[in-house]
Symmetry: C2
Subunit: 188 residues, 2 copies
């Protein structure tokens, strides 16, 4: 095998998730992941620091996209509409990735260490969104609460989107969850 | 020293927090905590599984109080008002504990492992509140979103309450944060 491995990163992620789903995260080794992907361990470590990172390789890109959308929203937009636009943009990244997202969620839910990691990533996202809203001139506590509201909608909408037998888009559930948050806070 | 140690649990918690604040969490040993509290290591381990647990000894009681208030709220109350009542009740437990809460927050913020633990506790609280709301007949996604909204208000209100030079009550900040969440979701 040559040094250039087309789509190595994606192939490794796919192989890892397949093995984590079948035998469990703890029971899977990097050697097995590389083998299933038809690559070497050396190639694995060129792309990921360890077997945990394979599951979180997209987190930083997701955060950057979220923050970018908040930063670039029209100046006149209300904070909650900025957050709605960010959820809409982020949903597009997940088109065609429902089965992958379902499997990833199940693997993470089954392991305490992975859950902690996922919660840290969400806390970091909330913090980055708060900073981005402050930079838009949103005062506190509105900035923090808008960011936390966005994360709440993202979490709840995501879990509904990946439910078994579901076929509607992620974007649908983000809108539904935001509308429902508006309704519950209004006391409906 | 006899087997009966009055207020041993509280003395150990106070001593631990003092040492964690002064020298850092990692650098403090159980032996040092016990010594400062005027107790033995054996007594320490009768009350806490390890030095991390000293910081989270109250989490389960807090969750039970939260859930109890939700469960016992009048049948006719709207979900968000149930959550407001729970935040009010919980605030009472923190009266006179501002300095302790400030120090505990600072120790946790300085250590990744402790932060993960705190996030897990908050996720567990959100999940317990969701279940309690469902038992009241609140449908999904309203139950999850009301619970997440409550946690968001609790987090943001708590951080504002413990800010330096602040003298207003925790209850004040819980009300302020909930009002602000209502305002931002309404698009104000």
């Amino acid at each position: 095998m040559g040094r250039w491995e087309p789509n190595a990163r994606e192939r490794l992620a796919k192989a890892a998730l397949e093995l984590y789903s079948e035998r469990g995260y703890e029971q899977t080794t990097v050697a097995e992941i590389a083998k299933l992907a038809g690559l070497t361990e050396r190639t694995f470590f060129r792309h990921y620091a360890d077997k945990r990172e394979v599951l979180f390789g997209g987190s930083m890109a997701l955060q950057e996209l979220f923050v970018h959308t908040v930063t670039e929203a029209p100046e006149s937009a209300a904070p909650i509409d900025v957050m709605a636009a960010a959820l809409e943009t982020v949903s597009e990244v997940f088109v065609g990735r429902r089965e992958y997202s379902r499997q990833r969620y199940a693997v993470i839910a089954a392991n305490a260490e992975l859950q902690e990691r996922e919660l840290i990533k969400l806390a970091s996202l909330a913090s980055a969104l708060t900073d981005a809203l402050r930079l838009r001139g949103v005062a506190e506590p509105a900035a923090s609460l808008t960011a936390e509201a966005g994360i709440a909608v993202f979490k709840v909408g995501f879990e509904r989107w990946i439910a078994a037998a579901e076929e509607r888009t992620m974007s649908h559930f983000m809108r539904e969850s935001l509308d429902e948050l508006k309704a519950v806070t209004a006391g409906d």
